[in-house]
């Protein structure tokens, strides 16, 4: 018993050291939430592919899984009647508020946290568990998801290396680390389904919601993914670029990405 306790304590210590070291490596000494620095730090071209061999192998595995599981399921899902797809998509978005709202607060965006709390309450009740997006119908501003990775980025934590995880897909080191916060109390949906034994919802509900979210994403982007794959010279590099551009955009919550593309590379090219 005593031995077990010592082993566990030593493991927790090791994990803590690894986490602290990783964060320390990723945090720029001059960390700042200044837009331009944020833009530069999260620029896809600046993010290293430190484990490219592993990433490409993992990417190939995910492509295999996509071919066998996600693509066939998504191709059936996308031909379902629009009200069904919208209902599923709306309720998944509504559920994601339980992660978005704490992140709005952690990023200091209190008014957005208020708006999203209102949105969540209205859609969960009047909108029947989020199936109908009543909040948007009555004029609430467009919903933007937030997560712990975005919050760390806003507070100056750099992205670290690019990483492709089996099944879970593309990430950065920062976002991978941040997503563990969901399992440490940061995701209320996880807390009431998996972490705690409640009578109304179960582990199955949590994992089912994750799988459905994956299928919904794949179906929404069905043509775009097919098109990208068909027209890419290096599909792995294209997906990496698209993922990192999307993260940069989400972190900044603005049009700065487009504006920043008015860069020297374009300027030098005359006609």
């Amino acid at each position: 018993m005593r031995l077990n306790y010592n082993i566990r304590a030593s493991m927790i210590k090791k994990i803590t050291i690894i986490l602290i070291t990783t964060i320390a490596l990723m945090v720029n000494v001059n960390a700042s939430s200044d837009g331009e620095l944020l833009l530069k730090k999260n620029n896809p071209a600046e993010i290293d592919d430190c484990w490219e061999g592993f990433n490409r192998a993992s990417f190939a595995l995910n492509q295999g899984l996509d071919k066998v599981i996600f693509k066939p399921v998504a191709s059936v899902y996308r031909v379902l009647p629009t009200p069904i797809k919208s209902g599923v998509s709306n309720s998944l978005d509504n559920l994601s508020n339980v992660v978005t709202i704490p992140n709005n607060i952690l990023q200091g965006e209190f008014s957005k946290a208020g708006v999203n709390t209102g949105r969540f309450l209205i859609n969960t009740t009047v909108g029947i568990l989020g199936i109908i997006d009543v909040a948007s119908l009555i004029g609430f501003e467009e919903y933007e998801k937030e997560d712990y990775g975005q919050t760390l980025a806003v507070h100056g934590v750099g992205p670290g290396c690019y990483l492709v995880l089996p099944v879970l897909g593309p990430k950065t080191a920062r976002d991978t680390l941040a997503s563990t916060l969901n399992f440490m109390g940061g995701d209320a949906w996880y807390n009431i389904t998996v972490a705690n034994d409640t009578q109304h919802v179960s582990e199955f509900d949590y994992y089912a919601s994750r799988v459905i979210a994956g299928v919904d994403f794949r179906a929404k982007n069905y043509d775009s993914i097919e098109n990208l794959q068909k027209n890419s010279l290096d599909f792995y590099a294209s997906v990496k670029s698209v993922y990192l551009q999307d993260r940069q955009q989400k972190i900044l919550n603005s049009n700065q990405v487009i504006e920043s593309m008015d860069d020297s590379d374009w300027e030098e090219i005359g006609n």
Binding site: P44, A45, R78, V79, T82, K220, Y222, D223, S224, N227, K230, N231, S232, L233, D234, Y236, A237, S238, K240, S241, V242, Q245, D246, Q249, V257, I258, E259, M261, D262, D265, W266, E267, I269, G270, N271
Partner: protein
């Protein structure tokens, strides 16, 4: 007689002046007319090969293929000699036209609505539009980076789909290919040629 000559002379002067005045094309109108051209090609009675040829023609007239090619090459373009640049421009144009036409030829009748424009500076305007939703996919926001250095002949330099730049994606893809070949740009040329010959 003198009156007639004067009248003819005046008309001639007017026509000549009219022709010499250049009319700048507003970027949003340029995008809408380009989209309409592509839509009528895709929605017409042409077979796939004819569609592809027509789309290539539209691309040659409305896209700054040279500019996109140079941007996609990134910093590598500074290290190429004239011969390599010539080869690159040729293989890139073939690649671009095939890729552009193949992508669009899949759509039967896309409806794009131009919403607004924002002038970034003298050289660039961003035109915002929406690809209207269908039963199978939601609406998609598309922004067009229009090169307006010559206002009489604006050109498309990039499409930004839901915030993701096609030119940037292509640039990072090309960079990855060159890096994987230890900096050998010929690997990129071979990839571009293979794609065009598919």
């Amino acid at each position: 007689m003198i009156k007639k000559i004067l009248t003819i002379f005046t008309i001639l002067i007017s026509i000549t002046s009219f022709n010499s005045i250049s009319y700048s094309i507003e970027p949003d109108i340029f995008v809408q007319s380009t989209v309409n051209r592509a839509a009528s090609t895709l929605g017409g009675n042409l077979n796939k090969e004819q569609r592809v040829e027509e789309l290539k023609k539209i691309a040659k007239e409305t896209v700054d293929i040279y500019g996109v090619g140079m941007y996609s090459l990134g910093a590598t373009r500074k290290s190429l000699n004239d011969e390599q640049l010539k080869t690159y421009n040729q293989v890139f144009e073939n690649y671009f036209l095939k890729s552009f036409a193949d992508r669009l030829a899949e759509y039967s009748n896309p409806i794009i609505e131009v919403n607004s424009k924002e002038k970034l500076n003298e050289n660039y305007t961003i035109v915002s539009s929406t690809l209207v939703a269908t039963d199978k996919r939601p609406a998609i926001k598309i922004e067009w980076r229009i090169y307006t250095k010559n206002p009489d002949a604006p050109l498309i330099r990039d499409l930004i789909i839901e915030g993701l730049s096609l030119a940037r994606t292509q640039k990072e893809e090309f960079s990855s290919i060159i890096q994987s070949a230890n900096g050998d740009v010929n690997a990129l040329f071979d990839n571009l040629k293979n794609f065009s010959n598919k």
